[in-house]
């Protein structure tokens, strides 16, 4: 009680004040409690600190079911638009938790930042690349990537970029976990429940029938396209690491034949990514702008475009690895991948980290519900 009051005295952003106003209405209504984890989480609280609001905003999967079923949605004077308010708030939290803090500014300049980075990295790789000799281009070894960029340089640069991204993401996660006052210890059932929620996107489903993309009707398309992108991304990751194992444990030197594991994983993963990205872009472009956040939409687009370029250059490189274009394509692809790593902690990618963390936090507090739920809702007579 006291601490909440102290907290309230800290000047708060308009986004936080808006979020609090809305969830207080939601907590008195509770009609949406069957849709997703957000509403049961609201019901566990009476007062909402900025950390609580951050947790709820990141728990929201933006399925928009609550917007279309809300009796208080605009043009009602309450103007209750939870998906939009939470989207705006998520961008604020991404910036608040970013590490190192000054780089938070990149969130609102994603498109520019990614393009400049990709260009610089590409130029760097192109500059470092040994000019493909006439013999290399024409030989059987034309696909030998390391003839273009030495293996050491490739691993050093992309590895450093990746480690930096990991560190920055971990620091952001730590900031989120502390700010939302999340528990320090977690039990196995909570971990399992959160793992299931992350990998099935159960909450991206308006209670089971999917999202509302264009109007009141429900559709699973967004969930399926997101799965395609997400699992495609994981397959591409798996491809890279299988290749690393082949190389460093078995001593098998790339390039690998088309039917090898790294190439298959990468091809399927890259194609799945492209399908997912195309689908998600199509949905975003045609979606009802009512519940959408303009600010977050910008970083959605730039992240999708960056992933598209990463997957497309990868596939193109694979397709053309036996041609003279390989050298240039490799520099571009590596440039894009390294810049992707570098921008990961400052782009839409972080939504996955904070969403997973929020689901874990939800899984950990969920058991409290069955005991408290009765006491909390018993008074709802009307």
């Amino acid at each position: 009680m006291r601490s909440a009051e102290v907290h309230l005295r800290v000047p708060e952003s308009a986004g936080l004040q808006q979020g609090r106003r809305l969830v207080e209405i939601c907590n008195a209504c509770r009609y949406c409690e069957g849709y997703c984890a957000v509403f049961p989480a609201i019901e566990l609280r009476r007062q909402f600190t900025s950390g609580d609001l951050s947790y709820l905003a990141n728990l929201c999967h933006d399925c928009r079911a609550c917007y279309y079923s809300c009796q208080y949605a605009p043009p009602h004077e309450f103007a209750l638009n939870l998906p939009k308010a939470f989207s705006d708030l998520r961008l604020e939290t991404y910036e608040r938790y970013a590490w190192p803090r000054p780089l938070a500014a990149l969130f609102r300049r994603n498109g520019i930042a990614a393009s400049v980075l990709a260009l610089l990295c590409t130029v760097l790789f192109a500059w470092m690349a040994k000019t493909p000799s006439r013999s290399a281009a024409g030989s059987e070894n034309a696909g030998a990537f390391y003839a273009v960029v030495s293996e050491g340089v490739m691993i050093a640069i992309s590895g450093a970029a990746f480690l930096f991204a990991l560190l920055a993401l971990a620091m952001g996660l730590r900031n989120f976990w502390r700010d939302t006052n999340s528990p320090s210890a977690l039990d196995a059932p909570s971990l399992l429940a959160a793992f299931k929620d992350v990998f099935t996107l159960r909450n991206l489903g308006g209670g089971g029938d999917g999202c509302n993309n264009h109007d009141e009707s429900f559709s699973q398309t967004r969930r399926y396209f997101h799965h395609s992108l997400f699992y495609g991304f994981l397959l591409c990751f798996a491809s890279t690491y299988t290749a690393a194992v082949y190389e460093h444990i078995f001593g098998w030197i790339s390039p690998y034949p088309f039917l090898s594991l790294p190439v298959l994983l990468g091809t399927v993963g890259g194609a799945a990514m492209l399908v997912g990205i195309a689908g998600l872009l199509q949905i975003k472009v045609t979606a009802d702008p009512g519940p959408a956040s303009k600010l977050l939409l910008d970083i959605d687009y730039s992240f999708l475009v960056l992933l598209f370029v990463a997957a497309a250059t990868g596939l193109l490189l694979l397709a053309m690895r036996s041609t003279a274009a390989m050298g240039g394509l490799l520099a571009v692809h590596l440039g894009v991948i390294v810049s992707l790593f570098l921008i990961l902690p400052y782009c839409k990618f972080v939504h996955g980290i904070y969403r997973a963390a929020a689901l874990l936090r939800y899984a950990a507090e969920r058991p409290r519900r069955s005991q408290n739920g009765a006491a909390l809702t018993e008074g709802a007579g009307a």
Binding site: I25, C29, Y31, A65, Y68, Q71, A382
Partner: protein, 465 residues
């Protein structure tokens, strides 16, 4: 010019739960159907958009309902809340009809919360719509449009030409332009008159100006009045409405569920002069919340204030508007805008009158006052723990009881006792046949769903004959 066909088989007036149930049923029976909805699309659905559940008879547990709720138990509940002001034949007929509703509703897009979730005390008797009544309306509108029901929004029916028990023509207005339709049958599902402040003033005087209307502002009772003037038999006490105490800060219209406050049993309630006027602890809240609308309506300026302290705050549901807080009673009186000295005296007298007891918010405990009038007979605890909190209360009108009389085929009965040839009614406009007084959660939606389907079926029969 209004884009309205000159004729159709079935015309449905009003697009809430009853209207859509009727329109869908009539269309599926093969009739061409026009549905005229007064509200724009964003506010469609009448009061149904503010509902959450409906009361269903069932013999065994279902995916959405626990245990069983027999026809006789349902009837007894209805008999008790209405104090017998009900038509037993129609009531029992409605109750039996509710047992058939779930499959029909699901087939037309309705989705329900699983049993055991939601409001626990009702999970045996009431099925809860996933996402609430507006989500149900969205599903029904989608189903109606898929079937080819011609839905027109922003279209207000001003009058119906009713001659010798038969509707000849219906006059509507859309965007200032008027049009006439000659349907073969008409189903009126246009609700009561609770949003018509001028009409309420006829019975409540100027006090009605301070009423908050919890539901749709489109329930003006235009069709109801028009039909009664042309000889439809009335049912229900015209002076009565269902009124509860709501947060005075709620919107004038459409505040819905979140305007509710349930802090009264754990508070004292005072008028503007800082004086108590009724036993706040008379009975458990679900049994007493409906009398507080009337009590507040009788207060000067139709306003009252619930006052309690920190230890009681969390006993009630969180409110949409935060409670007004203060460190002292005097300061709280200032924040609420009531006489500080009087409130302080009231609280002091109350605190001195509280007898020791074992506090239990879940049952009629023995915490009561002695020596003050009115007494507080349960949950009386001294108000002494800051911060002190207060809520302003106003009468919140949910619905009116006046309606048109119907038979069990949903035909409107004329004052001469004969049933209309082609006029049917469903929903709040005829709910007074069954619910002549009081209210029990989910019964309005049950009446609308049962009679909406009957009206649609019978209207299609007449039109296609």
């Amino acid at each position: 010019m209004v884009d309205l066909p000159q004729s159709c088989d079935v015309l449905v007036v009003g697009g809430g739960n009853a209207g859509l149930s009727a329109a869908i049923t009539a269309r599926e029976a093969g009739a061409s159907v026009i549905l005229l909805e007064h509200a724009p699309k964003a506010f469609r659905g009448g009061n149904s958009r503010h509902t959450r559940n409906l009361r269903l008879m069932h013999d065994s547990p279902t995916a959405t309902l626990r245990g069983s709720y027999s026809s006789s138990e349902y009837w007894n509940d209805l008999l008790s809340v209405t104090s017998g002001k009900t038509d037993e034949r129609l009531a029992r007929f409605t109750i039996d009809g509710t047992s058939q509703l779930l499959p029909w509703m699901k087939a037309h897009g309705a989705r329900f919360q699983p049993a055991l979730e939601g409001t626990l005390s009702l999970s045996r008797t009431n099925a809860f719509f996933l996402g609430g009544g507006k989500a149900l309306m969205n599903a029904y509108y989608a189903a109606a449009e898929r079937l080819g029901v011609n839905v027109l929004y922003d279209t207000e029916v001003r009058s119906l030409c009713l001659a010798r028990g038969m509707i000849r023509e219906v006059f509507a207005v859309k965007n200032g332009a008027s049009a006439a339709v000659r349907p073969k049958a008409v189903v009126v599902c246009s609700g009561g008159f609770q949003a018509n402040i001028e009409w309420l003033r006829e019975y409540w005087g100027d006090a009605a100006r301070n009423f908050i209307i919890r539901g749709t502002p489109y329930a003006q009772g235009v069709v109801l009045k028009n039909l009664l003037e042309q000889g439809a038999a009335p049912v229900g006490d015209p002076t009565q409405c269902h009124a509860v105490a709501v947060d005075a800060r709620a919107p004038k219209f459409d505040g819905g569920i979140v305007s509710r406050l349930d802090c009264v049993p754990f508070s004292i309630v005072v008028d503007r002069a800082g004086r108590r006027f009724y036993d706040e602890g008379e009975d458990i809240w679900p049994k007493r919340y409906a009398i507080w609308g009337r009590l507040v309506a009788q207060c000067p300026e139709q306003i009252a204030y619930a006052v309690t302290d920190a230890k009681s705050e969390k006993l009630s549901m969180p409110s949409a508007f935060p409670p007004i807080r203060a460190e002292t009673i005097v300061e709280l009186a200032g924040n609420l805008g009531i006489d500080a000295a009087a409130l302080e005296a009231t609280v002091r007298n109350f605190n001195q009158a509280v007898r020791p007891g074992k506090f239990d918010p879940g049952l009629l405990d023995d915490c009561r006052t002695e020596g003050i009038n009115p007494p507080k007979t349960h949950w009386a605890r001294p108000i002494d723990q800051p911060p002190f909190i207060g809520y302003p209360l106003r009468p919140g009108i949910t619905f009116t009881y006046l309606g048109v009389k119907v038979d069990e085929n949903a035909r409107v009965i004329m004052q001469d006792g004969r049933s209309s040839a082609n006029l049917f009614a469903a929903g709040e406009i005829m709910a007074g046949n069954i619910l002549g007084e009081g209210y029990v959660a989910g019964v309005g939606m049950a009446i609308g769903a049962v009679f909406g389907r009957i009206a649609g079926r019978e209207a299609a029969k007449v039109a296609l004959r």
